[in-house]
Amino acid sequence: MLGETVGTGLDQIVIIVYFAGILLFGSYFGRYAKTTSDFFFGGRRFAWWLITVSIVATGVGSHSFIKYSSKAFEYGFSSTMTYMNDWFFMPFFMFGWLPIIYYTRVGSIPEYFERRFNRTARGLATLMILLYMIGYISIGFLTLATALYQILGIPLMWTVVVIAVLTAVYMHFGGQTSVIFTDLLQGFILLFAGLFLFFLGLNYLGGFDVFWDALSPQAKLPLADFNRPPDFNFVGIFWQDGFAGSVGFLFLNQGLIMRFMAARSVNEGRKAAAINVLFVLPVSAIVVSNAGWIGRAIVNVFPGTIDPNLDPNDIFVEVTNLVARPGVFGFLIAALSAALMSTVDTLVNASAAVFVNDIYRPIVKKERSDHHFLEVARWVSVGVTALGVLLVPVFNSFETIYEAHGWFHSTFTPPLVVAVFLGVFWKRFTSAAVIATFTAGAGLMILGQLFPQLVTPFAHGIAMQAGKPYIYIGALYNIFVCTLVGVVVSLVTGSKPSKNIKGLTIFDIQGAREIFKGGKPNDREGEKVMVNWREADGADDTVGLSRTDLDTMAAEPGDLVYLCDRRKWLGGLKSLHSVMGEPHDEPGIVYMTNQQVKRGLFVKGKVLVVEKEM
C-alpha cells in the first residue's frame, strides 16, 4: 500500500457524486422489473450492443485494473494474454452452449444439470456455483475497498459496507434491467476512463514514441516466456486463464449466461459475443493494463518519480495519481468503482436467480405467485450482498488479492468446466460420471495441491517453487483429472436414453429449437416489416399481422415473432415476444391485446419493427 491518503477533496466529491448518480440511475430501472423473468432475464428483449457493453462491464472487474496493471508493470504487454485468447472456444459457445441454454429456457446452469443428468448433479452444481459467485462478490468488495479507503479516509470495512449498501439498493429494486442499463453506463465509463488514463500517461511521458522507446523489447512482446518464470509464464496462463478461465467465464458464469438470456434472440446473443471478443476485448486489454506500462516507462524515462521496486499492486493508483489532475483522479477512481459495481451487481443478480430457481422454488415453496418469487429474489439480492461483506475478512487474510482470486478460480472452475463441456459435447457422458467429476475429480485436485509431484508431468518444464508450486499450470492437471474421471466413469456406467436429453446436447440442436418454438422451426428467410399497432380484444397470446406482411417475413401462423419499438437507441427496452396468429387484410397493422401492449411497454403512435424469430 502507499501508506498515505491520496487524492484531494475534489476527488472525494467526484467519487461521492458518481456513487449517488449510479444509485439513482440503477433504481430508476426498477419500474421495468415486474416479473421474475424481468428481474432475472430483463424479459429476453435486449439488442446485441446493450448486451456487449454489459458483458464488458461484467468482465472487467475492479480486480482487473489492479491485477493486470501490476503484471503490466512487471512484465509489459504480455499482461494482455488473458484477454486475447477466447476466440478458440467461440464455435463451441456460439453454436453449442448458447443456443442450448437459450432454446431450452433453463433458468440457471444448475437447472441444465438436472435436465441433462439428475437432481443430485443439480444440487452439487448449485452449491459450487453459489460458493463461487458469493466468494467472487466478496473479493470484488475487498479489491475496491482496498483502493478507496485511502482516498475516502475511512476504515476498509466501512468502505466495504458503504459500497455494498449502494449496490444492494439498486439491485433490490431493479434486477436484470437495472444491471444491464447501469452496466451500459458503467461499461462506457470504464472503457473511456481506461483509455483516457493511457492518453494522460502518454502525454505525461511526451508522446507515443517516447513511451515505445522507453520499453525494452521483452516488455513489448504480447506473450510471456514459454515456461519462465514460474509465477508468470505463457503455458501456465494458457491453461489457467486461456482454457479454464475462458471456458469458465463463457460457459459457467451464471451472471454472463443471464446476460445472454436477456438477448432478444440467439442470433443477437451471437453478435454480442462476437463483437465483444473480436473488438472490445483487445481494447479492454489496453484499458486494464496501460497504467502498468506507463508506470514502467516513467521509471525508465524519469528515474526517481516512481520507485522501481514499488509493490506492483499499487501501480494503478500511483500512476493515476501522478498523471491526472485533481478531480480527474477522482473520476478515474470512480471508473474503478464502476468496474466493481458492474461486476458485483451481475453476480448478486445471478446468485439470487440460482437461489430462487434452484433452491427456493423447487424445494421450499412450489405453489406461490410470481410476485412472491420476485419479492424473494429482491431480498435474496440484499442477503447475498451482506454475505459477500461478511466474507471479506476471510479473503483479506490471503497474502494478496491476486492469490485469493487465483485460489478461487483454480478450485471451483475445473470440475464445472469439464462437466458442462462433456455434458454438451459428449452424448455418452453419464449422470454417475458428472457426480464423480464433482467429487472424485475435486478429490484428485486436492491431492495435486498436497502432492505437487503429481502436477510435474503436466508442467511443460516449469520449475516447482517451494511453498507455491505450480501456480498456473495446476489448472491443466485439474482439467485432466476431472476429464479422466468423467470419461472413465462414463464408459462403465449407463447413459440416459436419447429421448430424455432432447435438445440438451450439440447432437440435437434442432430438438432444442423445436422445444423453444413448440413445433417445427420455419427456416425460410424473410425480411422485417414496419407496422402500427392497434389494440384488439382477445385472451390468447398471439398477434395479428396481415397476409402481405406475413409473406414479406416468410412467416406463417404459429411462428414466433418479435415486435420492437423502431427507436433503435432503446436497445429493445420496449419490445415483445409473441406468436403469429391468424392473418388479416390490413397491411402495416398489427393487432395485439392490452396485456401485450403493457408487457411490451409500447407507446401510442410509435411504429414497431416486426421480425420472425428463428
Binding site: F89, P91, L221, P222, L223, V277, F425, I509, E525
Partner: protein
C-alpha cells in the same frame, strides 16, 4: 540483445497450434451436427466471421511480436 525462440515465437506457435486444434474441433462439431448450417445465408456469414476471428487474433499477435523484435 537476442531474444530466445522460447521468448518470441514458441508461445505463438503453441497458442495457435493447441488453440487451433480446439478451434477446428469446435468448427467440425457444429458443422457436423448442423448447428451451423451452411445452407443458410446467415450461417454462412457466421462461418466467415469465425474464420476471420482466428486470423484476426493470429495477425494481432504476430504484428506485435514483429514490432517488438524490430525495435
Amino acid at each position: 540483445m537476442i531474444l530466445e525462440f522460447s521468448r518470441t515465437w514458441l508461445p505463438y506457435i503453441y497458442l495457435y497450434g493447441v488453440g487451433g486444434i480446439f478451434f477446428l474441433v469446435g468448427l467440425w462439431i457444429i458443422l457436423r451436427y448442423r448447428s451451423l448450417n451452411l445452407q443458410l445465408k446467415r450461417d454462412r456469414s457466421w462461418f466467415r466471421v469465425l474464420l476471420f476471428g482466428f486470423v484476426w487474433y493470429a495477425m494481432i499477435h504476430a504484428v506485435v511480436i514483429w514490432a517488438a523484435l524490430r525495435s
